[in-house]
Chain length 248, copies 8
């Protein structure tokens, strides 16, 4: 529930379109709703401008379904990340409009049009193996109402592929750079644009990659200014961040 | 040299205010100037909107002086970070307007007014021991032309101190959070504002802090959305990033 | 066998309720019982006030069953942690009163009433994904005779959920804080209560979480006083510790 | 200012022993006092039962002196840890009753008698090289009003030395175990007492000790129940924790 | 082939019990035999007193079978460690006298009596979960001709169990200590005996155990003299080492 | 497409053997071809002398098939590393001449004869368990047109096996050394030859091997001059590097 | 005080050579002597066959002097490791027969002849920079009564230097191998002798050596059997261990 | 002494230009010369084509002087790396032709002309702070007889500086890339040349650079083929390696 929703609710009550019991029930759960295993933070949208997101890792199918059911009742758009196929199947049963991005492991449910910004976020990725993180970032940015342009497989081993796409990257308001292995793409892009760059190290690679640690350290130590970093494989976090900046 | 400077130069040449030798010499060094030990990236300002910054760690006093001397000749504002006192003293001799922030170890030289934005960057710090990083961030943000508000010593051990200052933090366009030890401040602030938060882990702490690693990992793993991270003690990087966002 | 049990045994023998062979056999195994693959520490209850607990990881089903069979013969309450479902099924066959907490992977057998303290232990957890550790702690604290209150899903990303429950947390005699990701909850709670806080980092999270290392380091580096830490995911250890303090 | 102090203040005001300006000034700073470089958390004593402590590492002599000066004006007992000799000398000038434990690097100022508990805390240390951490813990526990017994140099390499002192250790209400190298002392003591054990790993050792990491990991992985851990070399944290438990 | 075998061979040839072709073939492979995928070091027994051992991890069933087949032809006793059940089944087919210790994952084949020393090796283990490493060490020591005594489940959490067995431990010529978690047993035993102690850290434990790292670091940092360390879970290496010492 | 191919194409066009549409289409994709999920770097062969290689880890079977299909159309030799059996089976269907090295997990397709150098690369490996890396290196070196000699199972534990093969190693123009565990073979070989040595640490080993970290650090710290290192298990990288040097 | 000393004392008392007060005083301190800051383990020699050794790191000059003074009164040979020059100078004043090995940082005092074994310990070192560890090991082995042969600077980069000395190494009863950098020497020696090898990694090296970690991991992962490892730079521990074995 | 020198010596002896004592003395030390603290590997030049190099770290001034004195007597060119100024001053006294590169901390003595190759080695460095490693590599490559071209301060933050120098880099026979921070330069260069690239990570940077670990991991994980890596700050190793390749 964002501020606009709150105003509408109060107005409807005043106009006697809804009765006092209904209004009270909704307002009672305004700060958060306790489901026993989860406290849904209904206030977040009002506080931060964004609804709560469901991080599915480590939750049971029942818990995920329960949370989505409750949130649907409040007419929110819903984003569930790191969702396994079986979770999507369970949700699909009671919510046929749910969509699933298999590569990105993301469930989205659109109850209202999230809109689309005029400026866009560029998602730039080093290789084909980084696509799952790209898709998580893409779905997140889209449901938060952003225009997005994807630039895939432009790692620095063949830097002319990147150069050929610099115009579209420079045109963005915010740039997300996703790379595994040595993560050099973030520094190269960071040195060529005057926009905020959010770098996402991925766990792609082997050997001394140590699950993404190599790319993470590289991105934190970038010699380019204007680059900040989120957790390994955290496409969601990068897109959420980019969305805030894109909408400033 | 930014675009405006380039236009002026060309105009001056056309108006015959400067001769062709002068114009050619300046333009010849437009991409970069090779000093032997350093290639000054004169093109950076045009490309990224910001002049090159001197990172003094690992450089000799002679090298730092040489670079500053050259850049002064091009009428740039100058920012030199991680500068030891002796470096400042050497620079002071040939550049009396140089200023030194001792706590932040930063030399600044203002050849032209950097201006001041209407919106401001909030720099929020956990403890008194984090002040050197605060000052580095402050000087960087200021010379890049930003309004800045500092909120010091509001670590989560006494969270009411933070709550008392939330209004000024929420009023910012971008928030920098600086914290050592367990770095929890970034998550708490990130959960309460709807602005981009740039987190800077510091090496403050001891024992299992491992030179800032504890705070770094904590900030990368934040449960709050909208937080991105820069390198340990990297006040400069956070402020540079915040400045780009503040000026979008 | 605790001191009270020992007194009863000796009294029964004196009163000729049991014969000398029986008494001798029980006393012979007072220090420990060698099962070949395990030495049951029968003396522990007398020495530390608590019976031995079975840590099932790395043991075979036969070993776990054998140990439980032996301990049942001595009329102890039994706690087996990290027990797989098949272990429970094997135990159930010869001990129908055995109970299994599936989420917490804990088998409990109650041969005598453990009682319940007047003061209580608060178990405070950051997120739904931390529930397995919560349940391990809960079962441990209960069988050791403690009153327990659980406060779930109050992570710092929505700190008002925590504030709404501070009364119940402040009312406890000991507080257990369970959190993964950046583990900031321990510092925030630690700064607000005047009770001992035992922090349990969990392996919940991904990327640079490194199996709970991020939360562990954060908790060890807490800026709040009064917080101590146990091993990653060690709900049992936290509850055991809390029980000792709660019963002082 | 604790609750008792607050009651006295209000009573004095009502009895017209102090005027309204005086009372207002004190109350105005009740939540915290902003010194510019530090926010003194005056409310902590009321909230957690203990006054704020000054952690001197990373602070300048001027900052430490300024904070102590302010706190003295509020009649608090003062504890400053990790204080260098020069800090003590600076404080001594304006506060002659300040005392300095050189080995433990602790400054203490007693404005009121902290009292002494009937039950005691045992501080058990493995070797002579651990004494600086012992002394930090000792001074902390004493100024917080605890009776303390020290048991030095009883490392497990000569375990009969420990056995000879078990009576005094078992008699304590809380036990602090301080050990470097492999930190085995914590497990051995933990297996023999039925009291809460707070383990402090120290950075004593060399080679693969990695600054205390070996002892830290050992203590976190202890096979003994009832042991919790604080940061490497954190004598203060252990004693603070022990004091809370000792006074429950 | 050890020196005794070589003497016998030459004698048999001289006595015309074997012909020159036979003798030449055996001697030709004296340094090593190239199987394509493996070079069997036939010379090792002569050089170091012990035959080559087959480390099965990372080898295919065919490779293991091939190596054993070849070695059988040379009449050696054979030890194959880290062998999976299927490997044993494959070997069993062409070598019915092969034996398998399932817990220890070791295949042994006895072509000649390895003998038994008068002095013995004590294998002391902390817990039931360490038994696989115990068994690997046991089988190794036995086939190398040593008398062995096992002392299981005497971890320091119940130190009286260890004390009760000190006589048998002190009676050994070499002591192997096997422990996971915090590995404190090595230090405690090391402080009580005047014999060489070989410590084996195991990967038993969870959380901050990091696959045996905690026990490994603890053992390397032991405060007891006379303790040396082998790789994590390396029961074979410890027993091999102990055997050399036991037979000096 | 290498320079020779380009010349042929232009000549064919001039000779009217191919029409302008055909020539244009090929040249249009000269820099790279965008398949949506991948940008094939067609220019690499001209730029670096070697065609692009397909790293299959993290790619779907569809993606790998699609890339190979496209590259086949350009008449290139193809190398696909880290390919699972199912990938090979999918490729086999549309490309019967594809070959699969199962141990090395490599698919190769030869459209033109890669030739064979007169000088050779020696691949020296420590143990049988290192063979998968050996095979990856072997296939890579072969398809790039190199003569290769393999020297298997000559680890330093039986150094006479290595000595017996030094002639063939010294005769090579470049030496690849592949070893897991402690990786000492690289230093020993490096001390005995006057040729460039490329060391490949493998993840073979257990316990404190930490996935190849032990061998990696050892090789980086070699006391022998002339040794450089590639990533853990990176047989491809070593062979590619060796090929460049062999063909200088 | 060893068993022989004890027998003499009792005999002297019986023979009335010493009076009862004298005998009682000595026996009173038999288990240990509490100096306040240290508990001298007088019983160790009887229990383990070796007197206590003073590890000077982290102790003050006063503490070291005090401990030595006390031990001198009991007529022990004394070994103090990691002793700074100033410590030696302080000891020299009250004990003129004290000797100092500056390179090895070891103080030795001989009150009785330690004897010399017939068999010898070989100390084999990789490079000149490892000499401090060699000297610590040498002094330790000598005062414990061992014959010692040193073989310096035989690192594997020039393996013929090692081969030239193999006879003297093979002739030893125990071999200590000391090496930094990649520590390969331990594996090479271990593969060529049939004696127990104790490996000491040193912190010699730079870059990815990480203070000896590279050599430590290499030695723990050795492919040679019969090698065990002590802490980084721990020459004392290796020699102590070797002495026990040499004297079996 | 290389092969040519050996031939000359034998010829001189045959021609009776030198007597048998002289020839014998030189030949006696052909394999190595034992100075007590060091075994000079005189045979290395014959075996590997290069004379032994003195690594000064951890050696005393006396040891370095002694080794140089001996080597001078054999008329070798001498290279001493990691040499402190005082070492140079000591050497200068008895060897006035010694030269010192202060930035690179390298002493060189030229007894015979090392010559100069026709092809050249390019040394490409990311920033001014990397110059000490550049100079160590430069001096090494020069005394080994190579032509060298340096390309300084072309880090990827301003990639046009690198592009402007690509011709000179592509013209080299071998390329050394030296970079700290995130080390991205190695990947970018590796993607653009068809020559062997030897990457040297440097310890330049701060925070999560961890002494060069970030750049090291990045370079090992490079997505560009043809790149191999040496130890952190190891300019010598890179140049030695490059020289071998340049002279193939």
């Amino acid at each position: 529930m964002n501020k606009e929703d709150l105003f509408k609710l109060l107005q409807s009550f005043k106009n006697e379109e809804i009765n006092i019991e209904h209004a009270a029930k909704v307002l009672e759960e305004l700060p958060y709703k306790d489901l026993g295993y989860a406290n849904i933070d209904n206030h977040r949208e009002m506080r931060t401008g964004y609804p709560e997101v469901i991080y599915c890792e480590g939750k049971t199918i029942e818990q995920v379904s329960g949370i989505i059911r409750y949130m649907m009742g409040r007419n929110n758009n819903i984003l569930a990340t790191r969702a396994r196929t079986e979770m999507y199947q369970a949700v699909k049963e009671f919510c046929p409009e749910a969509e699933y991005n298999e590569l990105g492991r993301v469930i989205t449910i659109r109850k209202k049009d999230p809109g689309e910004t005029e400026t866009y976020i560029a998602i730039v990725a080093a290789g084909t193996s980084d696509l799952p993180v790209v898709e998580e970032a893409y779905e997140t940015a889209r449901i938060l109402g952003n225009k997005v342009v994807k630039v895939n497989d432009v790692g620095v081993a063949g830097i002319h592929r990147l150069m050929a796409r610099m115009d579209v990257i420079r045109g963005a308001r915010v740039v997300i750079v996703i790379a595994g292995m040595e993560g050099a793409l973030a520094s190269v892009v960071g040195g060529m644009v005057e926009k905020p760059v959010i770098a996402v190290p991925t766990s792609v690679g082997y050997g001394a990659n140590f699950g993404g640690l190599a790319a993470l350290l590289a991105m934190l130590n970038t010699c380019a200014s204007g680059v900040s970093v989120v957790n390994i494989d955290n496409g969601f976090g990068a897109a959420f961040n980019a969305s805030i900046i894109n909408k400033l």
